[in-house]
Amino acid sequence: MSKKEIDNRFSKFGTISFTATTRINDFIDHLEKGKVMGTRCKKCGHRYFPPRADCFNDLTSDMEWFEVNDAGKLLTFSTLKFAPAGFDKEIPYTIAVLDFGDYKVFGRVDNAIAEDKLSVGMPMKITVNKLPNEHINYLFTTA
């Protein structure tokens, strides 16, 4: 019998992924199709970002995908001038949190936007970003 293939799609997420297997690996397929997706519990309707395979409210794993495609509001951000191991070639870069109302998204701001053009409260949208070595993540850009 052949060795069972491991679904390690999530190892492509971000510059360095620390996770290979997850039950929401389809997140990567959606990213590759240009969509950033969260999950919604089919029972209570709660929307989760980052997406979860499970809803603790209903103790269910019956979830469906929804697309993060509205504009969010920039809640806070910081530009790193020093990076952890493995990210030093990318500095400076900005991490941020966007508020979409009933959920929030943590991620990186598009490096094309200068730090002095950012201000808390400004609308931003989310976009898929291809990285070297077939890695992929998402970025925040001006709405």
């Binding site: 999530f10 997420f13 971000g14 510059t15 360095i16 992924s17 620390f18 996770t19 997850t22 970002f49 980052p50 809640l75 806070t76 951000f77 910081s78 530009t79 790193l80 001038k81 020093f82 990076a83 952890p84 191991a85 493995g86 990210f87 030093d88 990318e90 870069y93 991490i95 941020a96 949190v97 959920y103 929030k104 998204v105 943590f106 991620g107 990186r108 730090e115 808390v120 409260g121 993540n137």
Partner: protein
Amino acid sequence: MSRVAVIGVGQTKFVRSYPGSIREMVFEAFKEAMGDAQMTVKDIDATIVCSAPEYDKQRSPSGVLAEYLGLNPQPTFYAESLCSSSTTGLRLAYSLVKAGLHETVMIIGFQKMSEISAAESQERMGRGTDIQWEAPFGTMMPAYYAMFARGHMTKYGTTADDLAQVRIKSSTYGVFNDKAMLRKQLSADIFKDPASPMSGILASPLRVGDCCANADGASCIIVAGEKKAKASAKKPVWILGLGSATASVNMAGRELFYSLPAATEAANQAYKMAGVSPKDIDVAEVHDCFTIAEVLAYESLGFAKPGEGPALIRSKETYKEGRIPVNVDGGLLAKGHPVGATGGSQIRTVVLQLRGEAGDMQVKDPALGLVHNVGGVGLYANVSILGRQ
């Protein structure tokens, strides 16, 4: 109901790089605490070892330490909650004593961070946050706290100069603390001089000078039940209130970026258990891993109203002679921050203050002290209230 007291405290000097092994470093803190409690190894019924394991090569350090310290065959346990590990140890030790399982329990906190590079250590600290969804973006602890500094600045108009005041206070007391790593008085000029290494941005809006430094060090705290404490300690310091809480690890799960709700919750629990209020506290140790963290602590603990933390440091009310002296041992900013050892060091400082043994750092006649110890970016928070009576 029988009470629980701290009857012995010790810590190593916190240093950039300890020239020995972890067990040898821990022995120094252990020896000091044992001498302080005037105990021998037979008096210790159990140990709780607290550290953040990702810095260690040794798997399961508690067994190695129990052996080296002569604490076999007594049981030893391992507790971890990032930077708040050793106050988590305090809570567990309190529970063991209250439950009647053990009469005297030792809490050992340690970290030897110098075994890995600063960048590797930042990467490991980043992995104390959400490794599935945040670390792949290249996160590190200063950048997370920087997002809270930005949030506080946006909401309340807090300035970089307000934050610098925290660092200046810290340096003032680091000078007096012979266990501190940084013992030099700093002035506001170091933040204004572009040539100063302290003035450079690390993660905007935080500058290098807003951040504490990694360190090697160990702390050791001995607690005992009321009967044993009264029989063996000249000045037992009673554990009057303990609060402990958590918040979402992923920043997407946080509501606000200008306060740490776990710390506020832990403080409320501790005040309620002790039956006291913020104005009753005479001396406090807070988790100033970054300058903004001390400002957030003032507000979580009720020393200042939300948004009024900067005014409190500016008024110098958190200096030794002020209304509520905070971190008059230099705090993490001057002492350095050996993750697992920090909470124990904070407890030690408050215990020495309450006993009137804090030397040049002594606050006038304190009766009630508070320790605020936070793990991660407000992911874990422990608040402990200690008293002379």
